[in-house]
């Protein structure tokens, strides 16, 4: 077993290096970041969360982030440092659902308390200042925390009309201008929600304002916390990772943290055994629905969607879309309004240009036409080539 020995050595070396890296980074942040705004430990105590519960939470979170247990203490430090990280949160073309999700996170653990300590230097939905004073706050954040603050973006950028479908602030700058200025001086940019990640609803066909996600419009790389809205736990975990390593966690090819978006809904779904067995809800409220059977036939897009909703659930783990009997609509995937439509039927039942024109119906018609064409050709050939046979006989 030499081979496996080498392997485990390599792995442990890797983690040792990572640990070194983590230490260096946490020391650097300790020097560079402003003092804490809030004391997490006080807050935990006030909410009746014991030290033991906190330790337990760090181990859950560490494994969620796909790190070995040796990183638990580092994660605890990151959580305690959460309030030191200055955040500027921008709103563009969006619905504020991501803000709501983030304000109302209740994970049955510590995550929501950690989130409460977050230091929002700029956030239009919660900040007290408005107008000129609000603008000053943003400028101050960019000046005081240059290359140290994290820019969180909620919302897409409309490119049409030279960006004027969205103008902001007393000077009426376009959203694109502001996005450029702020992301340029930020240490990192995190896109929260499908709008900022990939454009989402305003970018659905025919995309009247030519909206798109941040990374596409600005040509910068962003961390994409996908979902409409995403689970705030995915946001917290990503920031914790940043506070440990000074960089973003491993991402998939479209910018989503792999620890949260590495698996399909379908592969971690509580109804999966019914799928494999061939037990489907055929219409809403039928017996299958009452028994919690698979929602594929009523349009579940779990097979095409990468996310951890079924694992972490929403709102204090109360539920998630599949649990409430409606299929997943694929909200963590780019372009899902178009690619996942119709939302309440399997994708191949999409109507092409209205009415009953689905691929299968078109396929059937073409098959019929082909068969008819073949038959007509057979008859015509029989007539046309009749003479030929006779000619040949005379040879």
């Amino acid at each position: 077993m030499r081979g496996s020995d080498d392997y485990s050595k390599a792995v442990s070396n890797h983690y040792k290096q990572l640990m070194e890296y983590c230490k260096i980074n946490q020391e650097r942040l300790d020097r560079e970041l402003p003092p804490p705004r809030e004391d997490l430990n006080d807050l935990l105590a006030e909410r009746g969360v014991s030290r033991r519960d906190f330790i337990k939470w760090t181990s859950v979170m560490t494994s969620l982030l796909m790190l070995p247990p040796m990183f638990r203490p580092a994660l605890a430090t990151a959580a305690e440092n959460f309030s030191r990280l200055p955040i500027a949160w921008l709103h563009f073309a969006e619905c504020t659902g991501c803000t709501e999700a983030f304000l109302r996170t209740s994970y049955p653990n510590v995550a929501d308390i950690v989130l409460e300590t977050i230091s929002l230097e700029y956030h239009e939905t919660v900040m007290a200042a408005a107008g000129h004073q609000a603008e000053q706050n943003l400028e101050k954040c960019m000046a005081d925390f240059k290359k140290k603050f994290v820019c969180v973006i909620e919302g897409a950028l409309p490119r049409g009309l030279n960006g004027q479908y969205l103008r902001l602030g007393p000077k009426g700058k376009t959203a694109i201008q502001i996005a450029k200025e702020v992301t340029r001086s930020a240490a990192a940019t995190v896109c929260i929600g499908a709008c900022a990640c990939y454009g989402n609803i305003q970018a659905a066909k025919p995309n009247p304002t030519d909206a798109a996600g941040i990374s596409k419009v600005l040509g910068i790389s962003t961390v994409n916390i996908a979902g409409c809205p995403p689970n705030a736990v995915n946001f917290v975990g990503t920031l914790l990772h940043y506070l440990m390593f000074g960089g973003m966690p491993p991402l998939d090819s479209i910018g989503r943290p792999i620890w949260a978006y590495g698996q399909r809904i379908h592969d971690v779904c509580e109804r999966r055994s019914h799928y494999d067995a061939g037990e489907f809800v055929e219409e809403w409220g039928d017996d299958g629905a009452k028994k919690g059977w698979c929602l594929y036939n009523v349009g579940c897009k779990g097979p095409y969607t990468f996310a951890n909703c079924g694992k972490v659930r929403f709102n204090d783990s109360v539920s998630w879309p599949v649990m409430s009997g409606h299929g997943c609509i694929g909200c963590t995937e780019p372009g899902f309004w178009d690619t996942m439509a119709p939302l309440e039927k399997p994708i191949h039942e999409a109507s092409i240009g209205g009415g009953e024109r689905t691929v299968d119906n078109i396929g059937l018609v073409l098959t019929g036409l082909t068969a008819a064409g073949v038959a007509a050709h057979a008859v015509a050939s029989a007539i046309r080539h009749k003479g030929k046979d006779e000619e040949e006989k005379h040879d």
């Binding site: 090819s253 479209i254 590495g262 698996q263 399909r264 379908h266 592969d267 055994s273 019914h274 799928y275 494999d276 067995a277 061939g278 037990e279 489907f280 055929e282 299958g288 059977w293 594929y296 036939n297 897009k301 097979p303 095409y304 969607t305 694929g330 995937e333 780019p334 372009g335 899902f336 178009d338 690619t339 996942m340 399997p346 994708i347 191949h348 999409a350 691929v359 299968d360 078109i362 396929g363 073409l366 098959t367 082909t370 068969a371 073949v374 050709h377 057979a378 015509a380 050939s381 046309r384 080539h385 030929k388 040949e392 040879d395």
Partner: protein
């Protein structure tokens, strides 16, 4: 008139052909079930694995098809009997192709002289078919890779992931896979008909050739 048998196909090509035909047939049937599964009502959930089995068979034959296809490509380039890869481009002789179309449309009574193994339209159809197989393999492998994160599947999935992103996600990959299923059905109808039609018109034994490997040519041709 003298009719003499000519060896047209090697055994390898014939076996390859019928293996491919079988795989495609199984893939169409299981594929449509996967797309539109009906509920199996009798029995307990734990005792049932119908969709699971259908997927298993589908993927199994999908992998068969992958190997058959690779084998067919090998034959096209390295067959000792007849490496026919050039013959797939017979349709580039446009004049000949046009004549062939006229023959099919019953405007001309006789087919043009073949300059290659396949007639020009045949070559076009088979080139198209190879393309279809390629697409359905790639999309199939992506769909497979999305669910399994180990071994060769994962490796191929890494390679093809950009294709998934380019197409716009797994849902579109699956949709394309589904559309191509219909293209196979259309191909098969025309293909089988043409095989019989050739037989009837040219009396060269086209149908049986894929079984015996022998085509009957008339003297003087």
């Amino acid at each position: 008139m003298e009719i003499r048998p000519v060896k047209e196909w090697s055994a390898a090509i014939m076996i390859n052909h019928w293996a491919m035909a079988l795989s495609i047939f199984v893939l169409i049937v299981t594929g449509f079930y996967i797309a539109d599964p009906y509920t199996i009502y009798q029995g307990e959930t734990v005792d049932k694995f119908f969709v699971g089995n259908m997927r298993y068979v589908h993927i199994l034959f999908g992998i068969f098809l992958l190997f058959i296809f690779i084998w067919r490509l090998y034959l096209a380039f390295f067959s000792k009997f007849h490496a026919d890869w050039k013959d797939f481009f017979a349709w580039l002789d446009f004049e000949c192709t046009w004549d062939q179309i006229k023959f099919y449309l019953l405007i001309k009574k006789d087919p043009p002289e073949h300059c290659a193994l396949y007639g020009p339209m045949q070559s076009l159809a088979y080139s198209g078919l190879f393309f279809m197989i390629f697409v359905i393999l790639v999309t199939g492998l992506i769909l497979m890779g999305a669910g399994y994160h180990a071994g060769m599947t994962a490796f191929l999935y890494k390679i093809f992931k950009p294709v998934e992103n380019m197409l716009g996600g797994l849902a579109i990959v699956r949709y394309v896979h589904h559309i191509f299923t219909w293209l196979f059905i259309l191909f098969i109808i025309v293909h089988v008909y043409m095989a019989f039609w050739y037989d009837a018109i040219l009396k060269e034994g086209t149908v049986s050739s894929m079984i015996s490997g022998v085509l009957f040519e008339k003297e003087g041709k």
